[in-house]
Structure formats: structure tokens, C-alpha cells
Symmetry: C2
Subunit: 135 residues, 2 copies
Amino acid sequence: MPSRRSPSAPPADPSAAHVRSDPVYVVKAQLFRVLGHPLRIRILELLRDGERTVGDLQAELELDSSGTSQHLAALRQQSVLDSRRVGTSVYYRIRDPRISQLLAIAKEILTSALSDSHALLSDLADEARPRPRSR
Amino acid sequence: MPSRRSPSAPPADPSAAHVRSDPVYVVKAQLFRVLGHPLRIRILELLRDGERTVGDLQAELELDSSGTSQHLAALRQQSVLDSRRVGTSVYYRIRDPRISQLLAIAKEILTSALSDSHALLSDLADEARPRPRSR
DNA sequence: AGCCAATCTTATTGAGTATTAAGAATATAA
DNA sequence: TTATATTCTTAATACTCAATAAGATTGGCT
């Protein structure tokens, strides 16, 4: 019950809640949040090259059907995935190719962040030695 | 305690845990997860046009300094933000411009998803009328 | 220097919510 | 009906968020 707060709480500036619950930001956050799970990232990478059946994904993920289904449902609920049924199998696919783009960019960001920290480590190591810096 | 299951559970294939906890997927998921909060999305949009102080952000978000600081710390911990101190103020900025790109793509995805469902609504409305489909 | 105020960070708590696994229930196709 | 695929339910655990209070750093004042 989001309308109640506590017995005698002050009005508590309602404009702050606006920022927090503004649908625009909530919807964006929900999209990112559903991507924020290792198994769901893995699912999306498996689906990057084309659609797959639930049983197929289940085997690759080494998950039970219940867990697989729940993660797929979470992604489908945010319109990240589409599904179609063929006989007894259900095929899932990425609905919008820009989702894959999102993953690719995340990978780039993390890759360069990691190489930055790697470079920093090297600099620290260099600093320990008496050799002068060339750059 | 992830090592316990139930009184007499079978060993339960340990390789499944590998997929779940593979650092590659965990790190990617953490990046998306930290973006998965409306206030943090809002912070990033405020920072898109340049750096800001904590007090500045705090005022725009209508949040207290502690809450502001905690969200900023979460983003900084995932290397999304950088900070620098000038006197008593701390300025935050987006570390990698590709983060803004991530937000822009998310916006595109959501925009087209919404216009799809809007178009679907129109189609449903048309279907209720006897007028033949022109396309 | 010594002290105070402003700014920001960190730690802690509690309430609410999400995630997980396992099993039951459901639906569909062969 | 049987097998397959998925959803629903339940319960235990874990996490997130917001709010408070305490701590640290800086600048300015006297």
C-alpha cells in the first residue's frame, strides 16, 4: 500500500517522490534492472545469434526449467524478448537488436575500465622502480 | 549461505554455479544493475551535460545529502562516475561517455517499444470498425 | 593556532522487495 | 493419455532502499 506512510508522518515533500516515481525514470530503470542479473546476461548472449528453445537454453545454462522460465518471463515482461510456440517447444528471441548493442557497449565500457586499471597497476609498479618515466 | 540446500539434497551439479558466478557475467550484470534505479538514471542525465557538485545534485533531486551520497557512491563503485574535490565541494562527472550512449540507446528502445504498442492499440481500434484495412 | 560551520561520506537499522528452489498445477501436442 | 513445456505457489534467504546518526575534511573566522 504505497499511499500510507506511518501513523503521524509529516507531509514529506511530495515533489521528491515525483522524481523517484516519475514513470519515465522508472521505466528506464526497469529496463536496466532486468538486465542486471548474470543469468539473464548469459541468456541474451546466447540469443544474440538467433532464437532458441527453452529446453535448449535450459541445457546451456544448466538450470532447471522453473528457473529458466522465470528469467525468460522477466525479460519478456520488459519487452526484451519475444516468444513463439512451435509444437511443444517455445522459441525465444531478442525483440529489438539494439538490446544486443546495449550489451556490446557495456562490454566496451568494462573492457576499457579494466585496461585502465591494468595500466594503473603497471604505473604503480614502475613507480616502485628507479627507472625514469619516458612519457 | 549458498552452500547449503536442504537436509538431504543431492550434490546438485556444481557447474550450474559456474555460469551464475562467472565473473564476466557478474561484472556486466553489476553495471546494468547499478543503472537500475530511477534516481541514478536521473543523476546520470543531470551529469550528461557536465560535472556537478553533490550539493547541486542534492537540490535538483530533492534528496538529503546522505541519500545523494549513497547513490553517487554506488555509481562510483562501478566506475560509472569519477569525483574530484575542490575545497569543501565534491564534483562528480561521468567517467566514460559511452555511459550516456547506453542511456540514449535505452531511450530509443523504449520509445520504439511504446510506439509499437501504441500502433497495436490503433490496430485494435480499427479492427472494431467495419472499415477495410488499407495496408 | 583554535574553533565553528559547511560539505560530504560512512555505518547502521528496519521495512519492504526480490530471488531462489522445489513442487504442484496447467496447457498443449503427439 | 503421456510427455513436454511453462506457470504458479510457497517458503526461506538475501538484497535494496531510505532514513538516521556519527565521522571526516575543508575553509573561514577570531
